[in-house]
């Protein structure tokens, strides 16, 4: 009898041991993780996918990369690619043609840019490439540009028709929406392929699907007034996009002064109402564009604008002492 009890005890202990060891090895491993680090649009892009099928995940990673790569090439201001009529080509071509045919993807992106030019009350203007260049040059020379020099810049119209752009060598800077647009396309691809558990961190843009284990992602918001990677706030979110303008970007340093990289098209001067503006909304394109647009508005106007939208929330980082939240941000905060 005594021996039988001992036997049960032994079996029990061995069983327990197995359970413990297995739980160590297999907890959190029901889902496979695949990740990739990309370098496009002057940004380090981290892509993480979860799923059950390695092959499917790997081919999805490839496809996500090719989407960012394509939009990187199409929107590149600084170099052309053979056979591709991209932003560089539009500004610098020596073609005699009056109209230049565009890749459908770039054409659609430019239509969206035009649409938001109106919607944003002319705050988001992609035609200011030459103004941006002048500010870059000013930083290199470490001398502020004169108002005359800024005013003298001729800004061409963006004229689109039937898949073509009018060849007036308009100098485009699609920085306000390129990343958001590519992220939107990446999400469309993932969801069409039934991959709903993903996370993409593209610098000032985070795209979230479902979390692999938890209810939501815990996202730290980096403190723009400090340079040590510390976080000033944390939010919980999923199936949404979070974009920032200001914070992560470098500044133009001219003399002792710092100038933001975001230029008010109207005055052609950098705007400094905020250190950064963070926008949370489901659509990454909208998040990206709105973060630029709100950054260029006065706090009261920006807050009123956001509070009138049901599906958009924003965090305005005015200074280290003052951060203003839109009315619905609470739903993203930890208790």
């Amino acid at each position: 009898m005594q021996e039988k009890i001992n036997k049960f005890l032994w079996i029990g202990v061995i069983f327990l041991l197995f359970v413990i060891v297995f739980s160590f090895f297999f907890s959190k491993k029901e889902q496979l993780i695949r990740e990739k680090r990309l370098y496009y649009m002057d940004t380090y892009i981290y892509v993480k996918l979860y799923g059950e099928d390695t092959q499917k995940l790997d081919s999805a990673l490839e496809e996500v990369e090719s989407i960012y790569k394509k939009y990187h090439e199409l929107t590149n201001r600084y170099s052309g690619y053979p056979g591709l009529n991209n932003v560089y080509y539009i500004a610098n071509n020596d073609s005699k043609e009056e109209w230049i045919p565009l890749d459908e993807r770039l054409y659609d992106l430019l239509l969206v840019a035009k649409e938001w030019y109106e919607k944003s009350n002319h705050l988001v203007d992609v035609r200011i490439g030459k103004v941006v260049d002048l500010w870059k040059e000013a930083e290199e020379k470490n001398v502020l540009p004169t108002q005359d020099l800024l005013d003298d810049i001729q800004i061409e119209d963006l004229i689109l028709e039937d898949g073509k752009i009018y060849n007036n060598h308009v100098s485009l800077d699609l920085g306000a929406l390129a990343k958001g647009y590519a992220s939107l396309k990446a999400r469309e691809y993932l969801e069409e392929n039934y991959l709903d558990t993903y996370m993409i961190n593209a610098g000032g843009m985070i795209l979230l699907g479902e979390h692999y284990g938890k209810q939501a992602y815990k996202v730290g918001l980096e403190d723009p007034s400090r340079n040590d990677g510390s976080v000033f706030m944390k939010v919980k979110a999923k199936n949404t996009a979070i974009a920032t303008s200001g914070g992560y970007e470098r500044y133009y340093t001219i003399g002792e002064e710092k100038y933001s990289h975001i230029i008010l098209p109207n005055t052609r001067w950098p705007e400094n109402h905020f250190e950064s503006v963070i926008v949370i909304t489901e659509d990454p394109l909208k998040a990206d564009i709105l973060s630029t647009m709100l950054y260029l508005m006065k706090l009261e106007d920006a807050l009123e604008y956001v509070n009138h939208l049901n599906d958009v929330e924003a965090i305005f980082y005015v200074s280290e002492e003052e951060q203003i939240l839109s009315e619905g941000v609470n739903q993203y905060l930890y208790e």
């Binding site: 202990v13 380090y44 981290y46 918001l221 990677g229 976080v231 979070i242 914070g247 963070i278």
Partner: protein, 117 residues
Amino acid sequence: MNKYDRIFVFLVLLLVSFFFIIRKEEKGKFANVYYASELVLQIDLTTPTKSYVVKGELGDVTIVAGNGSIFVEKETSPRHLCSKQGKITSPHEKIVCLPNKIVIEIKSDEEYDTVLK
């Protein structure tokens, strides 16, 4: 329970606690160095300061790491933004050398899933 049973149970407990210790140690502070998307170097930051050389897109990148921090000492690049960035010490801080396709990340107990810059 006879003597051997007790020894056995004791051994099992020892093994289990061993597992816990191993898992705890994994969570120390370390830095990952990536070239393109490949992990090329992992440095335990609790060790004394030492320098490491990795190959970047434009040439060698010299990294100095240890005693809780890591920085790029020398790099071949147009603007030397990486070496200008200086030391990083806390998790989620990154050094990104775009021209060299080198990324250095500090890892430790993951407090956040991701951080918006």
